[in-house]
Amino acid sequence: MTQIELRGIEKFFGAVQVIHNLNLAIADNEFIVLLGQSGCGKTTTLRAVAGLETIDKGDILIDGKPVQHLKAADRDIAMVFQSFSLYPHMTVFENVAFPLRATRMSSGEVDKSVREVARVLRITDLLDKRPSALSGGDMQRVAIGRALVRRPKAMLMDEPIGALDAKLREEMRAEIKRLHVKQGSTTIYVTHDQIEAMSLADRIVIMHEGFIQQVGTPDEVYSHPANLFVAQFVGSPVMNIAEARVADRAGAASVTVGEAPAGFEFPHRLLSKLNGHSNGGLTLGIRPEGVLVRHDAASGYMPVEASIIEPLGSFDIVDLKVGSTMLRARTKAGYVSGPGEKVHVRIDPEQAHFFDTASGKSLGVRL
């Protein structure tokens, strides 16, 4: 049973503020992912929880007790580093046993605990080897084992699989998920990889320039991004963003992007929902799967020309020229045969997002 709460955390490096008034409550057994680009403050936040970094303001509470003045060793938290940081001069067994050697545990108990963890992580065969003889994935299993062996109050992971190659990363992602489901411990996981975040997290915390942008379940941040940053950071391929103008046209709303001659047809209720934002300072966001493409003309579809086609195996990403802007659409593989082909396009109103251009904030309009 471990809850972690961050209250009003501020952190400066010299004159540069790297964390701004950060508030976050993490429930017991919750898997929280801090997601953001490098330099957004996510790793600093993690290191502050671990006790490797001091904070300038605010409180870090573990199970309701402030710990910001406790040394790392006294917080009973385990951490997995991106570099794995296995000690080369020790065997795998000694590496995993290392945290237990700091306690007064008898060597019999140490042996039992290490073997138990090794069994769970399937590294029993490796216990006598040195870290330098291991593959990247095994190194990370050992590093996770070293974190788990103490049964800490919470697990912190700093890009634990960032150094692995793509295929291994996918495997280890599944493994971390499996472990969390099985062992269940409060976990804070830092990554810049949104796929990792989406697949692992109970809740994702998206950070940018030291500010939390949004906290929510993977579905919430994907379907209801709070602002333009989140909208573009989460989801692959990236969401289309375009300045938009909305007009009332014969019982329907017409949304024009990129000074195109005609607008996309939206239900009339969009106008009332936008409530005055209809002209100027409005940005439309639409994921590529919300851009619908067909060969023949149909009501509500606009004729456009395809420019670049990126085949991605199971689907294609097609760049469509709409006025002066490009919309990227996701189509079946090979649906659009080549650049220059004339197709018809429509925006699915239900998948459209609207943002205030100046603040970048979502207007919360969903149809």
Partner: protein
Amino acid sequence: MAAVRTSSEVAFNRAAIAAVLVATLIFLAPIYWIASTAFKPKELAVSVPPTVLFQPEVTPFIRLFTKRVQMQKPVDPQVYEAAPWWEKRIYDGGERVLKVGKDVQLSQYPDRFMNSLIVAVISTVLAVGMGTFTAYGFSRFKIAGEADLLFFILSTRMLPPVVVAIPMFLMYRMVGLNDSHIGLIILYVAFNLSFSVWLMKGFMDEIPKEYEEAALVDGYTRMQAFFKIVLPEAATGIAATAVFCFITAWNEYAFALIMTNRRAQTAPPFIPSQIGSGLPDWTTIAAGTFLFLLPVAIFTFLLRNHLLRGVTFGAIRK
């Protein structure tokens, strides 16, 4: 891994190997000269042209370790017959070994050799130990004026020893440190410390911070993390630094010559002082020099694996 090589690369390679061989021969020649002279009969040491093939003997070493005087008249054959084999060698050279009662009087060489060993070992341990701690501090913590401090430490090495030797000698005499082991050890530690700090800082910087951070999170204090993680990881660097400090202290001549004359005199100023007047006994001097070379050679040989970098590195992803 066998990469594809062009014929010109192969030719270049062979030329390079030949050049290295020649250089090695040139560098080894003086060592061969000393080693061979140490085992030569006295009269062959100065023969022209130099003798390359000869019957090696250990007589120079016997002379090295004993106090002797020239004999005025030939030795009594009965005494000669009763003498042990090594004493006969001395008689053969027209000398006799000095004795007090039955005890053979040893020359000063073993004492001087011991002095060298004491001073070099203790000063190396101190310089490397202090250097390791200092380097760790500089490597891991933010220190105000770090670059200036490091430069200051380096600058202590910039003056040649002879420049400071005279004032140092006067100060040492005032506090009674001249001709003492402690005095020489202090000097050598001070001299080697800057080197040790700089070298160790390079090694410390290469040990990832995450190693200690992992230990800190796992329930260890910084001190424990230093001894359990940093020191073993720095073993390579410590060994390399120790070899260099030991060689410097072992070979040091200028300070030793000025600061010591009897009790604490080390081998480097002692060996040449034995050349004396008249015809120098080159074989005995060569024997002393040859033995003097051995500790450094053995020390370096023992630590050779640590001197090759990269043995313990590579288990961390960067």
